[in-house]
Subunit: 383 residues, 2 copies
């Protein structure tokens, strides 16, 4: 159901020929109203793709009528021509839908540094517009896949209103502010300021805490569109919770499909003096290649957790640190704890708890192991 | 020749039985004087191994008579017992050499979180002391290897005096201040203040700019011992240059032997507004797993260089960035440059130049590719 689960939305996903292999590569999501409120968060990478620059601009008035997304090319580092191409794509969508181009967001994903085949993109927009449907959400989710092995959708329905969404992303997963390509829709009747607040609060504790490989994309975009078609205006907290639930679910789906991964790792930092400390420590652990290799080898090598913690500026005393892996406290007071032989690592889920013993704040970062398959997939990506 | 190339030093490397496989695992380096000046730099990881804590203490007076090093166990995260073991090792060395324990530095390397077999270590110290020789430098260099495939030594001889050294390190290579285990010796007649200044200046532009896998060790130690046996006191600059040359050579040897690597990558950042900017950008590029995989696949995927630069706080404008890979400017003004097909990546050496077009400062960081062999080696390290 994805982006068409909420009332007031149509979507389509088609093969425009951008990808050589003929699979779906262009998606269109249209808000049919009555309201056309929107909010978005974008990559904090200073090298921003043309579609990110465009979409940030057109979102400034808090209004979007449509989002066009393509896989098969990121349109990043493509100079003035790349920006012209994004603009032309938005104009084409505006033309076929009868809306203004400044109400059309554009998202692209794929290889950096390559111009898009614009004849195919523009023709694809026409094809997608003709295929728009209130049941098109799933096809749209499929059309934005790159190295994703599965498409990712999520829906939460509350009392008469719904939040749904789709996401793509399997590599270059380490958001600075937002991440990947995500489009969320709701039929709740809310203004763009409320959407923005709920979206920022949700991404901060969901997508922002997914860190597959420490590599931040140039194209990360998360959009939230509200049609108001339910006629219901939920309370702020209730709405924010629903958005967070959908973001959390999509974030989990991204990690589960991370390139080459064989283990999903939940890094839970507890006992931190501040939430910022907990996030810094969690990210440091999640980005430690040696630990990620050890987890791949089902080796509860907690020394690599401690050496990662030691590189941070968080408040802690080395001789008070505790680490549990899958429930076994293998490190106590910075030294040897329970027998590491007790740790059962046969399953895909791995849970690391790092206790800083310096306070009561916590944070959880999601990552995955580092595998030969990741190396293989990313050594052959553009060739 | 290694640590015994300079006059006034003896060394030994023996198999003490710390490693199960019976290979050499304990080294002893002794300064026979007349002078016993010394300096050292240590890991900036806040989780410091017991031998690092000990050696930092005993170096405070700028004097060392001997260094004892073991592979087969890092003695890190081993609590009070680990520190007692380091102390006992220094006491044993002091006893057999007839010197004070506070003039004995201790270095350990291997798995974190495991206590050393102290009966074997103490017996090994006796065996090593009996084997001390003015020709023992190479055996000492061999005894400190862990996953190193080759031992690393370097010697620079100037007008009547010499600087020599040995190093170990093949993984967890990303120093904060110092790195790995390195012992340098000289027969120049200099005080510890001069040694310290020369050593810090050298490590800052050599070991500190080696970044194999972004993972900082708990045991990094670089020591410089001066015997004064040449009777010559070289000028500061001349001496500092010799120390830098030996450190640079050893750093290169470390990168060439990095775990699983098939490519040595020189990341040269030019046109930076400050040296700090150049180092930050170089490190960001060198730590980008996706780029390291692409280089492994001989794919000049410059988009990954730009996305890494974009995560830094350095001064630059995205549309002025230029990137060359092996001499081909594949990215010009933040966009598509010369044809990437022109890039020849068949050889082990890969040279990336990132031009920030924001000033005239430069820095070079050395790293290597990310390979399935790295994953394999590090998924099975402690098991």
């Amino acid at each position: 159901m994805s982006v068409t689960a909420a009332k007031g939305f149509q979507a389509a996903g088609i093969a425009a020929g951008i990808k050589d292999n003929g699979t779906a590569d262009l998606a269109l999501v249209v808000n049919t109203g009555p309201r056309r409120a929107a909010a978005g968060v974008f990559t904090s990478n200073r090298v921003k793709a043309a579609p990110v620059q465009w979409s940030e601009q057109v979102l400034k008035d808090g209004t979007l009528s449509a989002v066009v997304l393509n896989s098969g090319g990121a349109n990043a580092c493509t100079g003035p021509k790349g920006f012209q191409d994004t603009h032309a794509t938005a104009e084409k969508v505006a033309e076929v839908l009868g809306v203004g181009a400044i109400d059309v967001a554009v998202c692209s994903t794929g290889l950096i540094g390559v111009l898009l085949p614009m004849d195919k993109v523009l023709k694809g927009v026409e094809t997608a517009a003709a295929a728009l449907s209130e049941h098109g959400g799933e096809k749209a989710a499929i059309a934005i896949k790159t190295t994703d092995t599965v498409h990712k959708t999520s829906v939460v329905t509350r009392d008469g209103w719904t939040v749904g969404g789709m996401a793509k992303g399997a590599g270059m997963l380490a958001p600075g502010l937002a991440t990947m390509l995500v489009v969320l829709t709701t039929d709740a009747d809310l203004d763009s300021g409320t959407l923005d607040k709920a979206l920022r609060a949700a991404t901060k504790v969901t997508f922002d805490r997914v860190d597959s490989d420490g590599c931040m994309s140039t194209n990360d975009t998360v959009l939230l569109l509200a049609s108001g078609a339910s006629g219901i205006t939920p309370g702020h907290d209730e709405f924010a919770e629903a958005v967070r639930a959908v973001c959390d679910d999509l974030g989990q789906q991204l990690i589960r499909d991370a390139e080459g991964a064989s283990k999903d790792i939940k890094v839970e930092v507890v006992g931190a003096a501040s939430e910022a400390d907990a996030v810094e420590v969690g990210r440091s652990i999640a980005r430690n290649n040696l630990l990620k290799c050890a987890i791949h080898g089902e080796d509860p090598n907690w020394g690599r957790v401690l050496s990662a913690i030691g590189t941070t500026n968080a408040v802690f005393e080395p001789d008070r640190l505790n680490v549990a892996i899958n429930g076994v406290w293998v490190c106590k007071n910075g030294s040897v704890g329970e027998d590491r032989e007790k740790v059962d690592m046969r399953y895909r889920e791995v849970h690391i708890v790092a206790d800083l013993a310096a306070g009561s704040e916590t944070a959880t970062i999601w990552t995955n192991d580092l595998t030969a398959d990741y190396v293989h997939e990313n050594s052959a990506y553009s060739s």
